[in-house]
């Protein structure tokens, strides 16, 4: 039996045992809660509490030393009036568009190809290798060995007559340079997910289509992709959420530079917090990005409830 999915867990389940005597059910409920307690305790202490504190902080002015002052929506008003904030938000939007399209399309195609050429199925492991490397290793390898004008592939190409600048130090390309590194690490993960989803499709459907003369593309477009729509939708929503939260790749590769050209909301929040000690504003930026994600998740749950998947 294939493991059950994450996303469907939120679907309400029929509650059994309503017919039992109330006191016995209460005892059962209590012991159930005891099992859940350690996780909930750790999670609320180190996750829920800081999130609530961040939301509250976003309505205050705080330099990290004196006690916070309540300022209401002033942080948000200042942010919405600042060009740095909108430039970062637009970079997140560009990032979202790239990651909603390129890796999803690539992974869908490669997963279908792996299914067609079953003997090469083992390649999914190789495609996953970049994904498991620590982000700093990925970043240093691309920075030093690919992009670097002296020690990298680009430097070598420059010496041989191809004039390619280091994208990480060019304001016009820095965001795309970072995106390329993240894409390299990310698309293999999606491929593994989609490959697993494709494998759950009834083979006889594809065989029937083949008998009818449908080629690779026709099967892909008309049978495989429509049948794994729920998985694709889930990955699209998660991509949207993650795109507004992207931090580590930008932080390690350019730290938002040069000249703020690759700044995203999370690195901007870091700058407000740990460089300028304006923790209220930092919290406001984070809250903005986090709330967008929450809306996306709510939208997804709403779609699910409406029975999109059935």
């Amino acid at each position: 039996m294939p493991p059950r999915p994450v996303a469907s867990e939120a679907r309400p389940e029929p509650v059994q045992g309503n017919a039992r005597p109330v006191s016995r059910r209460k005892a059962r409920d209590l012991s159930g809660w005891l099992y859940v307690a350690p996780s909930l305790l750790i999670n609320s202490l180190f996750l829920l509490f800081p999130v609530v504190a961040t939301l509250w902080m976003s309505l205050t002015s705080w330099n990290g030393l004196e006690s916070p002052q309540w300022v209401g929506a002033a942080n948000f008003q200042e942010l919405f009036a600042s060009s740095a904030f909108w430039e970062a938000a637009i970079n997140n939007a560009k990032w979202t568009v790239i990651f909603l399209t390129v890796p999803i399309a690539l992974a869908l195609w490669v997963a279908a190809a792996l299914l067609r050429v079953r003997r090469l199925g083992f390649l999914q492991t190789l495609f996953l290798v970049p994904y498991i490397l620590p982000t700093v290793v990925q970043a240093r390898v691309w920075q030093g060995m690919i992009f670097n004008p002296e020690t990298g592939l680009f430097g070598w190409l420059n010496k041989h007559g191809f004039n390619i600048p280091d994208p990480l130090i060019a304001t016009a390309f820095s965001l795309y340079g970072i995106a390329l590194v993240n894409l390299w690490a990310w698309w293999g993960f999606l491929t593994v997910i989609f490959f697993a989803a494709f494998r759950q499709i009834d083979r006889s459907l594809l065989e029937a289509a083949q008998v009818e003369g449908a080629g690779f593309w026709q099967q892909w477009i008309h049978i495989q992709i429509p049948l794994i729509k729920p998985t694709i939708l889930f990955m699209l929503i998660m991509t949207f959420v993650w795109s507004f939260l992207v931090f580590d790749y930008v932080y390690v590769l350019t730290d938002g530079g040069p000249a703020g050209s690759s700044e995203v909301l999370s690195t901007l929040a870091f700058r407000y917090g740990f460089e300028r000690f304006e923790f209220g504003k930092a919290a406001a930026v984070s809250a903005f990005a986090g709330l967008l994600g929450m809306f996306a998740i709510s939208f997804y749950l709403w779609l699910q409830k409406k029975g999109f998947e059935r």
Binding site: E9, D29, F127, I297
Partner: protein, 250 residues
């Protein structure tokens, strides 16, 4: 028939090309980790004229790699212990005890999977500084645990659901208590699941430190990435299973 064979050949060729592109950046990493810094700058793509194996010992010393790996490993071990022990209990209860509030608890964990580090860091940082706990390993491990809990709960729950109910009912008839059933019947059966969680949490919480020269940086990268890649290749089945369980709807 001819067309079909052509199609498979073309697809196979493209797949192999994708594999090469994927692995390509790793080659110069290996290559330049055994070259002198000057050789890296002269021609990063050339083969080394001699093997500068002392890069590895230099990288190890320069970045205090031994100490930072030891430190990371201690935090990783603590995180894995905390995560596995608490989420086994939670996942089991969510799978087997029917409590009316469970959809709410699941919904909370689902929402928690999307919480970014920037939503946590500022209050946590302030709090830890005030309590003098900044850099405390156990606290750090607990923060990681909180972050990995939702994923682990959902993954392990799917393993508990796959155990046939009859096994537990038989144990109940034999007079085992609820906790005994969990510990002696259900838990041993989900060992692969626990291993998967441990593996993925270990991968996510392990990061390293770096110096300044590119040759040493690559030696450093090899030292960090090597063990990870080897462990991954050995245990890939569990790893892939865990990732897929999180996202594919069966």
């Amino acid at each position: 028939m001819q067309r079909r064979r052509l199609e498979v050949t073309a697809l196979a060729g493209l797949l192999i090309l994708m594999a090469l592109v994927t692995l390509f950046p790793i080659a110069p990493m290996l290559l330049n980790s055994v070259k002198s810094d000057i050789a890296v700058q002269t021609n990063p793509l050339a083969l080394p004229d001699h093997l500068a194996l002392d890069n590895f010992s230099k990288a190890w010393d320069q970045a205090h790699l031994g100490r930072s790996i030891f430190l990371s490993l201690r935090i990783v071990c603590l995180t894995v212990c905390f995560t596995c022990s608490t989420t086994c209990l939670t996942a089991y209860a969510l799978a087997r005890r029917k409590v009316r509030s469970w959809p709410l608890v699941s919904g909370y964990f689902l929402a928690a999977t999307t919480v970014p580090i920037t939503l946590l860091i500022f209050p946590l940082y302030g709090l830890l500084v005030r309590l003098g706990l900044l850099g405390n390993e156990a606290v750090l491990a607990l923060i990681y645990t909180a972050i990995y809990t939702p994923f682990s709960v959902f993954l392990l729950r799917s393993y508990f659901l796959a155990i046939p109910l009859e096994l537990e009912e038989a144990a109940q008839i034999d007079g085992a208590s609820g906790f005994q059933i969990f510990l002696q019947v259900a838990l041993p059966l989900v060992t692969p699941g626990v291993l998967t969680v441990a593996l993925i949490v270990e991968f996510y919480s392990f990061q390293g430190r770096f110096g300044t020269q590119w040759s040493l940086m690559m030696a450093n990268s090899v030292l960090l990435a090597g063990p990870i890649i080897i462990i991954f290749l050995i245990l890939q089945r569990f790893f892939v299973e865990g990732l897929v369980a999180g996202s594919v709807k069966g």
